[in-house]
Symmetry: C2
Subunit: 212 residues, 2 copies
Amino acid sequence: MKDGAESRRYHHGALREALLEAAEAELIEKGEDGFSLRSTAKRAGVSHAAPAHHFRDLAALLHALAARGFDRLTAVMKAEQAAAGADAAGTDDAAGQVVAAGIGYVRFAIDNPALFQLMFGGRGGGDKPAELAKAAEAGFSVLVNGVARVGGRDALTTEAGWRDVMAVWAIMHGYAHLAIGGKVAWLSDQPFEAQRAVIADQVRRALRLAEG
Amino acid sequence: MKDGAESRRYHHGALREALLEAAEAELIEKGEDGFSLRSTAKRAGVSHAAPAHHFRDLAALLHALAARGFDRLTAVMKAEQAAAGADAAGTDDAAGQVVAAGIGYVRFAIDNPALFQLMFGGRGGGDKPAELAKAAEAGFSVLVNGVARVGGRDALTTEAGWRDVMAVWAIMHGYAHLAIGGKVAWLSDQPFEAQRAVIADQVRRALRLAEG
DNA sequence: CTGCCCCCTTGTCACTGTCAAATCCGTGGT
DNA sequence: ACCACGGATTTGACAGTGACAAGGGGGCAG
């Protein structure tokens, strides 16, 4: 049997994935503090030591979870970017796409606060495996490429280009963090379009573009 | 005896402070993950249950530690600000002072990475006590007041003012986080004055000031 | 000097992450 | 069809953790 999802075979077959799923659910429910390897195992319907075969450590599990988060973050950013591109139709609104990516970034953080916090230096802090670094890098590259398309910037090699990228990144990350921390009621309360306008404004300033 | 520091009286007398001291040392040594209430108690030279009398929870201890961190962060920002004011002597370089505060912010993060991370939503996540919120607010107000002095902005009431404040905050926080994560070798490797220039440039852009 | 109250200690509990050994069961060789 | 092989999973155990309940110790008021 190739098992249609919930087969209860002894050899689970997809335990790794199931564990990650359970882990994210636990993370959302109990928060980063209350998270426990044993209870995620229980939620996945296996014994407390089962995860050991798929993840060396608790840290390894969290790292995998974070990597997954980066994958999704990257996807969200790309999606928003693509949507923005469709909006503006013909015009090469490169800046608008960077803004869109930023919106996606912040939106992801708001939608997945616990995961977002885990991704950025939460628990499981030690030695991040290469896999995680690569996933994070992928998300970052969306931003780099976006900035590179704005006004013929060479975001990859020149120092000024890097500064622009970092500035945009810092703004996105800062807003995301603010939003999660509930520090921006004035922002969160706004309709989404207003939030978009605020962030767009800031990004444009950082890139020295005319406003509006 | 009013005990000159290390008195070994049964009634410690300053256990609360000693525990916070030990806790920070432990935090630095073992990182946020390896941190343990019991071992900080041991480091402070008391039994494992002693902290309970001064901090309801592990979370409470961490909150107090974070509050302390905010106090120091505020102090650093103010100090840098004051130094910048002295530099520019007569000129009312309000923007320069905001920049200085930002520098202080990033510098603090670099100098106290573990503490900084704890302060911003690390462990002990649940219900932040009022004390902590107040300490955080104090640091924030340094920034608010600084921005308010720039170009006659009304940072406290107008929405545009808030946007400016948030933009600067986001930039500072973003850079700080980048620096901690080691993501900005290109920045960290620079001499400090170059870092200052980069951040100054960004802050000025966020406040729509002429560059340079 | 004496009693009291607060600070701290000792002891214990449920729970955590990790390791070692036993157990299960699909797979491939015959 | 059989059967051993070997990886996946379980059971069991151990040191450490945070929280709680009692007990002991000492400084300070009377």
